[in-house]
Subunit: 212 residues, 2 copies
DNA sequence: ACCTGAACACCGTTCAAGT
DNA sequence: ACCTGAACACCGTTCAAGT
């Protein structure tokens, strides 16, 4: 497990092959199949390993809102540090790591006093939003797998994307061109948390509506 | 392009290979590379082909809210009919189909009078939520690629998942076990639209707060 | 200009044979 | 009980050679 995570962190998603892992462990590729069902299990276990720590750390917050925000923050850090986690999370919703996220978010949503029949929708909204952005950040990281100065490379990449967007037809793409202006400067983490707050605000406004 | 979509629809994501496509077109696999850069382009073009129609159809709504909901509805139909679209959308955020979604949602959010500095966050929240659920539905469809009676298979699958969740430790997984009770009966489309409404409600409550 | 199809450099997975 | 590593059945992509 640790060897797998090491390979994923050092060389990216695509670098984890049974051959590479076997070489790293100085064994035959077939040997791994004695301990692990298939590649899916390998990735799911590695992902859960990391998500579990995030959830445990975040649970120590004071208010339910704080805990949810801490989970989001922790998840952001995890994906930032291990981009393959984002890809794996968004690829397979039935893996244990996703269930763990669901339980963690769900218990906080319960604590916020959301009526039971609305809880599933609220939790799914939060979860889907997180998984959606997780996939996007992972895709971004896939473009520049390993680099000493990632912040710099990222900004150059966003600048190039923005420049390409600015070349689009203004009549057909007014909004995208407007976004292009702020794209290189925008803060991913801030935007991630803003989305969480937006969903929580929607939850509250619906709550008030239901019980005036 | 049409041949590629045909293969994807009939046999699922994994069935689209250059060899299969070449056989379908009665040509050599190398010939396709004369017209198409690589597999990524092939999938991105096929996806945009379908998303473009969704967005064009949805744009005919009356109010901005209706248009956004129509886009979500159309996207749901598209993913329901072509599950590979969901997978492809959630995998690559820089493809044209995603930009098309962004522009479509963005113009409606602008029309709703959201202040410019908040627009990017709102649109990202809606978009990420959509892409997140898209990936989840696509993963669900990957489990039972082709079947005459998908609704039946789906329900059986969800029933099996719910049963497995019910076996989890009640002390550690109270929320997931609660969800398990309603999981087999829940309506994916309803939940998708509920999430959209939640984000829109959050947007409105923040708008009111900003300009009292 | 466009097509052919063998060849290359990989995959995940299996399995007879070993210890 | 656990490991070895060749073999199988695939991939995406390239490219010399054709028309």
């Amino acid at each position: 497990m640790e060897a797998a995570i090491e390979i994923l962190d050092k060389n990216g998603e695509d670098a984890l092959t049974f051959r590479a892992l076997a070489a790293h462990l100085e064994t035959g590729s077939g040997a791994i199949y004695w301990h692990v069902a298939d590649k899916d299990y390998l990735l799911a276990a590695a992902t859960d390993h990391i998500v579990a720590r995030v959830m445990a750390d975040a649970a120590r917050g004071s208010s339910p809102r704080d805990v949810i925000r801490a989970m989001a923050n922790g998840l952001f850090d995890a994906i930032d540090g291990h981009p393959w986690v984002g890809g794996q999370l968004s690829r397979n919703p039935w893996q244990y790591a996703v269930l763990r996220l669901m339980e963690g978010i769900g218990s906080q949503v319960q604590a916020l006093g959301v009526p039971e029949r609305a809880q599933f929708n609220v939790v799914t909204a939060l979860l889907s939003f997180m998984l959606g952005l997780a996939g996007q950040y992972a895709a971004g990281a896939r473009l520049f797998p390993r680099d000493a100065d990632r912040a710099e490379v990222r900004k150059a990449h966003l600048g190039a994307v923005a420049a390409k967007w600015m070349e689009l037809d203004p009549a057909e793409h007014p909004f995208v061109r407007q976004v292009a202006k702020v794209l290189p400067e925008h803060d991913d983490r801030e935007q991630f948390l803003a989305g969480i707050d937006l969903i929580l605000a929607g939850m509250e406004s619906i709550q008030k509506l239901g019980a005036p």
